[in-house]
Amino acid sequence: MKTTLKTPLNAWHAGHGGQMVEFGGWDMPIQYEQGIVQEHLLTRKGAGLFDVSHMGRFAIRGDDALAFLQHVLTNNAAALEVEESQYTLIPNEQGGAIDDAYLYRFDADEFLLVVNASNRDKDWQHLQAQLTKFSMVEIIDQTDVLAMISLQGPKSKQIMLNLIGNGPLPEPMRNQLGRTIINGTAVKIARTGYTGEPICFELFVDRNAVIDLWEAIIAQGAHPVGLGARDTLRLEAGLPLYGHELGEDPEGKEIPIFASSLARFAVSLSDLKANFIGRTALEKQFKAFKRIVNRDFTLIADLPRRILAVALTEKGIARAGYPVFREGKLVGHMTSGTMVPFWEYEGVGIASQRTDKQNRRAIGLALLNSDLYEGDALEVEIRGKLVRAVIVPYHLRSEAPPNARAIPWDRIQMEKAVTIDKQTSRKVTTLLTKAIDNTSWRQERCINLIPSEQTSSTMARLLSIMDPVGRYAEHKPVAAFSDDNVFYYQGTEFIAEVEALLEAELVQFLGCVDVETRLVSGQMANMALFSALVDYINRSDRKREQRRIRKVMNNHIIKGGHLSAQPMGALRDFVARDPKTEKPATINFPVLEHNPFKIDVAACEALIAEHRPELIILGKSMTIHTEPVAAIRQFVDAQGLDCVIMYDMAHVLGLVGPYFQEPFKEGADIVTGSTHKTYFGTQRGIIGSNYAETDPRHELWDAIQRRAFPGSVSNHHLGTLLGLLLAAYEMNHFKDTYQQNVLANAKAFARALSDCGLEVAGDADIDFTETHQVILNVGYAKGPEFAQRLEENNIIVNYQATPLEEGFTASGSLRIGVQEMTRFGMTPKHFQTLAQLFCDVIKKDIFVKDQVVALRQKFLNMQYCFTEQQFEEQVQKLHTFFH
């Protein structure tokens, strides 16, 4: 008879009110004195601490370790970089699960596989049997020497920070790993968990150190949580439990791996996995799955049922094993289910807050026929009675850190009803009145500090609404006419000249060979550039499927990179998949440990050599430093790389010059930009190219023009084009003083904010910033609240997540730009006054709106533009067109 095993914390649990039960061969706490319901709620509200040392932990080492893991696991182990982990399954040849597991790569030469306690022996036997196919692999069972505990919940991050002092946490993304020292003990940390909490840490430590670590975490305010709440938490998160959603179904049949919604992430059919165990069966299941997603049921026999989330819509509790019906027919069974508590939230959107009100709901997971979908009504048979239920897409959402939020079935989508006023004159009056109020508010009573915004001069704005605003002027260079532009419309002589003059002004401003001006936004400019690069790299073969850009180096969005440069943004359809990681082939700029806003230039050299990118995108939307264009150019040239170095100057275009940087002089090939942030313009985008006519790469410029028109635009918004020419004149005329004053104001503001006790990001030695931006840290997840408070005081900034935060809802900083108010004439001493008002609002919660309005009223006249007195007669004439 086997004795029940005990984790190193067993005596602690028993001595602290733990109700001990047998689980998978181990003596474990099912709950403590507070009970399952409270333990669940305390995890969602604060931090729950779980002893998971009963789970199996196997170390896998050796030259063949990777090949072995590719063979016995479903996921692509080759995709794991050091300090990454992945969810995976141990498959059998039939495409069912022997177990589900997590694979961690803390070190380059060792993997750690964590498996379910109840399957540890079975998994061990299976892996041992598979080892015979490989020679240089060893597996070591570390379950007894390495302890594992899990800390989950919104307060868990602060607890970890308190314990590690100045040590680093792993990168703020799920599955990232790291190591640290806590009270002298080495601890491995994983941002993983089984609760659906976005702020989550699983900790691995020597068994002799776990009790002290556990007690230190409890002392910081974490609540011990037993297996009972562990199950309700994972159920709410929709996570599978072996024996319920994997393994045998309630009718005793094996559940195919693809029945689980996580299979899409956990199963890889990469060539790097050769003919791994279960491959054939899984390929069949995947094929059926893809068709089912398309509501095509021709292969439903290969995946007859899937695991779906189910919520009861009337009273009762649906539990594992209960049959499920739809329109009188049996369609499956519950695999898990119970009554789960949750916190009520009040408020709308990002302002929504957790209340102290607890509620309960009967939810579960069920294995149901594959032709059922979200929204389908069901009936669950509970002790002979049919109780109504519905299929829901999820029970809980984790994408708004720091909290996981319960989404009850009747609150899945909050549709805001917009009522249309039937009385036309009233709705027109309302619109006009509100537009007037809004303009008056922003232009006369607010201090506008959003870094991506600007007000253009009256003259530029008037020009933007002159006749061209309703016209077309499509044009293309035609080789038959020596590359002269052919215009497709009539009446275009004026605007054609405007466009040519604009190009000339921008060429002079940027110091490059060519500028494309037809794009209507910065992101569109980036997309046109990406599209042109794809066009260019395929120029020798137009018959085959056009290949994508092989590898792109960029600033990650977490580190301030713009959306355009991310695979989730504009880059998506232009970057290739990396066959090793099965993800978009991007490599991010490394940053300095002590200043995550600055690129670690030294570390770039090796990365560029290793990854050999085809496109390097410099530039960020959260930016306080220059970009290392010259250094990157040097690395690229030294390695003889065929690579396009692009600088997305969206934010800093207006600063191009000796006081900031001159990218083309430093060696950039391409510059893209928004014309409406630090640059004076109307809202448009441009692409500057430095390829000389004689450069073979000049064909890329030709491609840029084609992908601008007809690739991106048909009508290229001639109104703002006309306004932009005037803005370009202003820019070239006033840039010297403007640029110096923007930078001086930013530094003065940053210094003043810091002096009054606020935490300003960046290097204090250089007065924090080299751009128009100032970044203010206001506390983890406090950004939205302070941005709202400032808006109530007529100061407009935006909240932003720093490189340490898990997502924009957990934003801990405010992003500020001085460019617009500089244009209205504010100087360093005024920014010092403004800093004091900031302090009053943020530190003391004083209402200072009247003072803010008074300050703004001193700066209603735009500087750095041609005053109307000079051009009075013509400006009057412009006005007359609008009565």
């Binding site: 109700q19 099912i30 399952i36 319901v37 009972g228 309700t232 009273k315 119970t338 009554m339 508590p341």
Partner: protein
């Protein structure tokens, strides 16, 4: 879970082997579950009770009490007609845990055969039963 000595069993009630308690109230009897039962069950999250007007025999199932982990049937300690049910348990099932003898009462039964009460255990007998 608590030791028996830490639990509470009012002297004036009578108890069934299935851990229901009864309290005579004129010609009706109020029924609930004992402190021992609620402690064993853990957090109670759902209670299903019969309809007013139902008539059930002694030993018949009159409902269920559910915790996160398990379902427990409730059995009539005495037979009769259900004249009242505690509707508060619908929104606050935790009353059974927190006030098993007062706010957590479950049903009120009109008992035709008062002799059935004698078959139930007095407090001390129930304590012996629990310890044994």
């Amino acid at each position: 879970m608590k030791e028996i000595s830490e639990l509470n069993f009012p002297k004036e009630l009578r108890y069934a082997e299935d851990h229901e308690w009864t309290k005579p109230q004129g010609d009706t009897v109020v029924v609930g579950i004992s402190d021992y039962a609620q402690d064993q069950l853990g957090d109670i999250v759902f209670v299903e009770l019969p309809q007013v007007g139902d008539t059930l025999a002694k030993g018949g199932e009159f409902g269920t009490v559910e915790s996160v982990k398990a379902v427990s049937e409730l059995y009539m300690p005495v037979g009769g007609e259900i004249v009242a049910v505690n509707t508060a348990l619908e929104d606050s099932p935790e009353l059974v845990n927190n006030e098993p003898y007062t706010g957590g009462w479950m049903i009120e039964v009109k008992v035709p055969d008062a002799g059935e009460m004698d078959a139930l255990m007095a407090r001390d007998a129930y304590l012996e039963f629990l310890k044994g």
